[in-house]
């Protein structure tokens, strides 16, 4: 069977984008809360 490296790259690439996106969302929220605390 052919190796289909493009499918492997697509699966791993998608996982990196999604997990990285969630991590960035958490970091952004953390920064927003920290800024809010500083202002309070």
């Amino acid at each position: 069977m052919a190796d289909h490296w493009n499918f492997v790259a697509a699966a791993y690439g998608l996982a990196v984008v999604v997990l990285g996106g969630y991590w960035r969302r958490l970091v952004r929220k953390e920064r927003e809360l920290a800024a809010l605390r500083r202002r309070a």
């Binding site: 190796d3 996982a15 999604v18 809360l33």
Partner: protein
């Protein structure tokens, strides 16, 4: 500080996971290198099982005690759980095309996972729809418990119905039915995904606590 350390541990484990998946595990004889998607697909679904187990625990804990800490745990567990379920579905679909010849089929395993994904997506939406925090926590706890009942259905669907999806190679009675090198690479990735999941949960719990303190 502990959350930060957990994050670095997860990064190290993920690097080890990628190294074992692509450098240590051999090329699978029948499927070729496309089988390497398994080192992403299987850890993702096992992490999702763990996530919804935690949602179940947090939901039961909240309904019994009405302590907000249990509710925060359930919500923090559910969010990455939905993400890992989404990765499971997407990676399975990408793996299915070259091996099964189709992106999707309505077989029992795929359908039950899709239902799981939609139910927990609904869990997150429901939380956003209700303004009263106590009522949102109560409704979500009930939904979290009901939706968790789908997890055994997902796992055993391949035994109970005729499916295109193969039966489990791990998390089954008896020894794992795969060569030791492939099993080792899989286990490294399971550990890496579990660490990453707990890092996300710990970070989210901390955020939820800080949010409720800011609102108080």
């Amino acid at each position: 500080m502990a959350v930060h350390t957990l994050g670095w541990l997860a990064v190290l484990a993920l690097v080890a996971g990628v190294a074992t998946a692509f450098g240590y595990a051999p090329r699978e004889v029948v499927q070729g290198n496309v089988q390497r998607i398994m080192y992403l697909h299987v850890p993702a679904v096992l992490t999702a099982y763990l996530a919804f187990g935690l949602v179940f625990l947090g939901s039961v804990g909240y309904l019994l005690t009405r302590r907000p800490g249990w509710d925060r745990l359930a919500l923090a567990a559910a969010e990455p759980g939905v993400i890992f379920t989404g990765i499971t579905i997407a990676s399975g679909s990408i793996w299915g095309k070259p091996t099964w010849g189709t992106w999707w089929t309505w077989d029992a395993r795929l359908t039950s996972v899709a239902i799981l994904f939609v139910m927990y997506l609904g869990y997150l939406l429901l939380r956003g729809m209700i303004d009263d925090q106590e009522r949102a926590a109560r409704y979500c706890a009930v939904l979290g418990i009901v939706a968790a009942l789908d997890v055994p259905l997902v796992h055993f669907s391949v035994y109970w119905w005729r499916t295109l999806h193969q039966p489990p190679s791990v998390l089954k009675p008896g020894a794992a039915t795969m060569p030791p090198a492939i099993l080792a690479a899989l286990l490294v990735n399971v550990v890496a995904f579990t660490l990453l999941y707990f890092y996300f949960v710990a970070k989210r719990v901390r955020l939820l606590r800080a949010e409720s303190e800011a609102l108080a």
